[in-house]
């Protein structure tokens, strides 16, 4: 148990998406890419680390070419399992290959206002409010910074966002919006204060960090530097590839997997070379470019296949996986959102991805919707039930009741029925009412999700952050702000 957090565990379904041979070929191809073509690391510290370990470094192009054995040896040092710690320990999340946890999606830029329904620019208050709702929902295991605090200065925005989440939730926080040295240092300091000490933070990392790679075959300098700082402090650090078929990766799926894999494992290897044994994770949100608009689709069969295939790769390297699921390209909670988010979540779950990112955003991770958030939670709950599979044993075969009822009759009045009926799944937002009721009421999933979100927001009181600690965290943020010349 992880408090009241729901996860998928002990799955009874599985999928063969890549054979052992396929994985081996992808791995060999990846090593060939890293060795012959190389990966760009525009960070002085990264280049120094690579050079010290015998990789070939071109300081002008900042391209690193590393031999396969260097990558393989480095990756072996990565821990296969560890916990993401929460402010309240009973909500710690074991990333052990036998749990699938869901987070909120991250870095949205607009919010569909819960009360007016109008779309508007995101602000700090939204970050805190979304965190409060997420704190309440058992389907949400951890937070990403759901939207950006655009009413706060760019150089410290990521830190205000962290504080807002800690003030509104006891669950684990993972940020994807800290990508500079100064912010990373301050974030580590803040996490240290929350955990109690540097040692306590190392044991129970209340914060983890996710960075994007820069496809094709590149890294972002600020992100790499920030990740190195986080890893040094023992914070779990992950790298996400978003290589897109036809634009930032080859149009063919295998080639796209190889390019993304080269980006991710080269970054993970770097972290292991710098800090052997540091907790790291594989992250991916690959997709296919839309051929008509160039848009990042955030859905479709290619996404779903990537969702399952990537976990096979992460398993091969024996590190946890954070997989992009949900994150539909739809503009509102609708048919498209339902399909995208169900299929992607199912495919990433059946492969037992450790983390799924995440609920709540529309329009390719740009617009926050509380309605979508709650409906996404329902999708996860349904997938969770499917993953539990069919148990065949004496109690579930129910031979004696079958005998008792016999041909004809029904099972409604059986004690067996009452005993097991709560195993059947019940929806919160699917409409199973009679037609005429639907016709008369004229409401539906979006209305119910909206009402529920309002109720949570207005009534849920998360365990507050100690006032002294909150003040200390604020001081830390201030110090970053005053260090930056206006």
């Amino acid at each position: 148990m992880n408090g009241n957090i729901k996860s998928i565990t002990d799955p009874r379904l599985s999928l063969d998406i890549l054979s052992q041979d396929d994985v081996q070929r992808l791995h060999t191809a990846t090593l060939e890419i890293i060795e012959k073509t190389g990966v760009r690391f525009p960070s002085k510290s990264a280049l120094e680390i690579w050079e010290a370990h015998g990789a070939t470094v071109d300081h002008d192009s900042m391209i690193v070419k590393a031999p396969g054995h260097l990558i393989e040896e480095a990756l072996k040092k990565a821990p296969p399992a560890y916990d993401l710690a929460a402010r309240s320990p009973e909500q710690d999340l074991p990333l052990d290959g036998n749990h699938v946890f869901v987070g909120t999606d991250g870095c949205g830029v607009e919010v569909m206002d819960l009360y007016t329904g109008q779309r508007r620019r995101s602000r700090l208050q939204d970050v805190g409010e979304i965190a409060r709702v997420a704190d309440y929902l058992p389907e949400v295991g951890f937070h990403w910074v759901a939207v950006s605090a655009q009413d706060y200065p760019p150089e410290s925005r990521g830190l205000h966002e962290l504080l807002a989440i800690w003030q509104n939730s006891t669950k684990h926080v993972q940020t994807e919006s800290v990508y500079s040295i100064a912010e990373a240092k301050a974030a580590v300091e803040m996490a240290t204060a929350v955990a109690g000490s540097r040692e306590a933070l190392r044991k129970r990392p209340v914060l983890s960090i996710m960075q994007c790679t820069a496809p094709p075959l590149g890294q972002d300098g600020g992100s790499i530097d920030a990740a190195l700082i986080a890893a040094e402090a023992g914070l779990p650090t992950g790298f996400m590839t978003m290589a897109s078929c036809a634009s930032t990766g080859p149009v063919t799926l295998a080639g796209n997997l190889a390019v993304g894999n080269a980006e991710v494992i080269s970054a993970l290897a770097l972290i292991q070379l710098a800090y052997p044994g540091a907790p790291v994770f594989y992250a991916a949100a690959q997709t296919a470019m839309d051929l008509r608009t160039g848009a990042y689709t955030g859905g479709g069969p290619e996404d779903f296949l990537f969702g399952a295939a990537t976990n096979v790769l992460a398993d091969f390297y024996n590190v946890p996986l954070s997989m992009g699921s949900f994150a539909t390209g739809a503009k509102e909670p609708n048919w498209q959102a339902g399909i995208d988010n169900s299929m992607s979540t199912f495919m990433a779950s059946i492969a037992m991805s450790d983390m799924l990112l995440g609920v709540g955003l529309l329009h390719g991770s740009r617009i926050w919707s509380y309605e979508q958030m709650l409906m996404d939670c329902e999708i996860f709950d349904m997938v969770r039930q499917v993953m539990a599979g069919i148990v065949v044993d004496e109690a579930s075969l129910a031979l004696d009741v079958i005998g008792k009822v016999g041909p004809g009759g029904n099972f409604l009045a059986q004690k067996h029925t009452r005993r097991h009926m709560r195993q059947l799944w019940l929806p919160k937002y699917m409409d199973r009412r009679p037609y005429n009721v639907w016709e008369e009421q004229g409401d539906g999933a979006r209305d119910w999700a909206n009402a529920e979100a309002r109720r949570i927001l207005e009534t849920h009181q998360p365990e507050p952050l100690d006032a002294g600690l909150a003040a200390e965290l604020k001081r830390m943020i201030k110090s970053v702000e005053t260090a930056v010349p206006a």
Binding site: S122, S148, Q150, P154, R157, A214, T248, M289, L291, G294
Partner: protein, 215 residues
């Protein structure tokens, strides 16, 4: 007599074969074909054709980009010939484009740049992570009509305002128009920073650019 050559030029663009386009452009130069005719009666027609097929959903973005690349190759060979004759290809306007400092999102900016150049603009693509001052300096250097600034992050979007200020400081505003774009950019933001236009996609960006140069 040049009809077959022109037809082959058109086809090279439709096929998106830069090597063919290069060979045909060189052939035109060697045979003394009027370079402006080679462009307007040959290559450009190919681009028009691709544009039409894209419009009705028969061709896709990669077709368009390949065609634009082939076009660029041909024009690069023919432009010096035009200059020798003291003429120039008619262009709709000159655009300086880039993704702003601190931001490495590339695809959207590149698509906009490609579509603009395929539509007859002269485009200087400064790449990603472009310093604020570099936009203004390049704009002055090449006499730009439009500066296009792409930002995909909320943290870098604020710098679109600084680009406008830098142009102001150099005395280039309001003659040089500014258009902006990227994931967090909204109509409100465009009004707030006093930019002249924005678009949520590359096709729209061409329409905006045409409007800004009065075409």
């Amino acid at each position: 007599m040049n009809e077959t050559l022109f037809e082959a030029m058109k086809q090279s663009i439709i096929d998106g074969e830069a090597e063919d386009a290069e060979r045909l452009a060189n052939q035109a130069v060697a045979e003394g074909v009027d370079p402006l005719e080679a462009i307007n009666k040959g290559f450009v027609l190919g681009l028009d054709d691709v544009g039409e097929q894209f419009g009705c959903g028969e061709m896709f973005l990669p077709d368009l980009v390949l065609a634009a690349e082939a076009m660029k190759t041909a024009v690069a060979i023919l432009e010096p010939e035009l200059a020798k004759k003291g003429t120039a290809r008619e262009i709709l306007g000159t655009v300086v484009m880039g993704t702003v400092e601190g931001d490495i999102h590339d695809i959207g900016k590149t698509l906009v740049a490609t579509m603009l150049s395929a539509s007859g603009f002269k485009v200087y693509d400064l790449g990603v992570n472009v310093a604020i001052g570099a936009f203004a300096e390049k704009a002055r250097e090449v006499g730009a009509d439009i500066v296009g600034v792409s930002s995909l992050l909320t943290t870098t979007m604020v710098r679109q305002r600084f680009v406008i200020e830098a142009l102001d400081d150099m005395g280039l505003r309001p003659q040089v128009k500014v258009m902006v774009g990227g994931a967090p950019v909204t109509r409100d933001w465009v009004a707030e920073i006093g930019a002249d236009g924005y678009s949520e996609d590359a096709i729209g960006a061409v329409a905006v650019a045409k409007r800004l140069v009065g075409k």
